[in-house]
Amino acid sequence: MGVAAALAVLGALLGGAALTLAVEHAFVRIDQEAGPARHTELRHNLQLPNADRWLLPAGPVVALAGVALAMVVLPLGPGLIGRDLGIGLFYVIVVVDFVVLGLALAGWGANTPEGVEACYRIVAQLVAYVVPLGLAYVGVIMMARSLSTVVVVDAQRGLWFVVLQPLGFLLYVVTGLMQSYRAPFLEPFAASLGGGVLGVVGGWSALVWRVALAGVLLVVAAVGAVLYLGGSSGPWLPGWAWMLAKTYGLMALMLGLGRLVRPLSTAETLALSWKILIPLGLVNVLLVGGLILLGVGPGA
């Protein structure tokens, strides 16, 4: 049973990543930077003379493991969940960090100036997004009174949280783009770095990076659908169809909105995070607390 669930989760990840890549390519035009969706050479391996031969191959494996672990707690439909953990949302935040670790490992391990620079930018971006992302989760957790993804979905049967917490949703969209390195925040994969980590991979590692980076976007969008769009709840259609539609709808919304803004450098990303997003997140927490005190929201 455990093996079957693991295989099902892996299958969902692979299929979702393929679909994510297709959605992503719909939003990239020739004159724009593709970021993590850039072309990589899958047929040829790339030999780097000075690469660290442990860290470089470890990177994609660690990143893919993080994404696969995050898929476990995503409720793809009623009963369609790998494992309903009591601390599911916190678990997602933690295991997606393995993607950052993998990118840092590969960037440093490549031992080219671009790779090392990409490693620095990756870590800086982690510092930028991790606090506002947590604040975007907190509002939902306060209303649902649980960290479990299933309970969060159940709490939105009447009204989606995006209606009650539009500020939190906005915050989640922005930090989600940072977390998945998409359009305005693609500095770690910038073309001026030759694609960062993706510029120094080839063969199997390029394929694993492709799945892992598409998987991050998938996880971010799916968690956003769970947190703010009611997950698999909806009329007429079966739960999994609603979840699929919401996930890819949110993904398309994020990618499209991101393409409206010019790309931000890492320094600008950090400034945006600390000067705007964190105060906004604190305001959101206060507003949600006020709503709960006023008796608005589920279970009140």
């Binding site: 660290d52 860290l55 393995f98």
Partner: protein, 312 residues
Amino acid sequence: MMAAFDILAFGACSFVAVAGALGMATTMSMFRSGIFLMASFIGVAGLFILLSADLIGLLQVMMYIGGFLVMILFMVLVMHDPGGAMMAGMELSPLERWFSKGLVPRDEATSAGQDDPASGEGRSHAGNRHEGHAMPHGEGRHGHARDHGGGAMPHGAHGGHAEHRHADHQHGDGGHGGMDMSMVTPVRPLAAWLAAAAGVVLVGMLFLRPAWPVTDAVPDPDSARRVGNLLMDKYMVAFEGAGFLILIGIFGAVLLARPSTHPDDPSRAAKAAVDAKPEAIRDDRLAPLAEAGGAPEPEHHGSHHGHEDHVG
């Protein structure tokens, strides 16, 4: 089935914890060292999860991934040879060699046939020569990092390099070269014996006190709620106090990072981050980019210069 899985998971987690600690202490690369330490703590987090303390385990993973990545950046900032490329070519003990496997020693291009560790010199002698040689490499890296921060001055690496060299001379030229390499640290055997003794004492305590209380109470599945209640109730003063201390720390950091009011002090001059396009790199044996141009590779540059200085 479940018991077998438990034993397997325990074995895997404790292997990661122990091997990570060993690798942390013996590898030649500072970056790897940090990663090994992180792996060790993640192994310990796995042990926590096996003990049904999943919240503590996940907290540990989160703290160590984020915190250690930032800490590693600071190590890279201040170390001479953060990648271990230079020390990997030296004479190593088997354990050190194993944990430094896959590091490419950087001596074939810049020190061809000059400072070969296997050329039959005495160990200490070879070590010393390497130390002298080591500095320019390290500075090359520093120059490189500096250059990225300071924008696209073609001779940024040069200037930074000279400055560093000067700073290093104060403690650098006396005998040991200021490079506190692990393999020449005289206290290392002592430290190893001390660690072994501590391990023996701990294992001995395990055997001498065999009556461990065993309870079959099921742990609270909603531990997060309980921890939260305790933090906001019983331990509120400590919790809020820690938050206040962190706030003060942030204020201090902002104060220190502020542009100086003493402009004559060069160390406190405001270093504006110029958002220039990073320079293209030559001589990295990769396929050329479309827009190759700009200054020569700073790292290469620095190391060449250092080398010449050293020879002259």
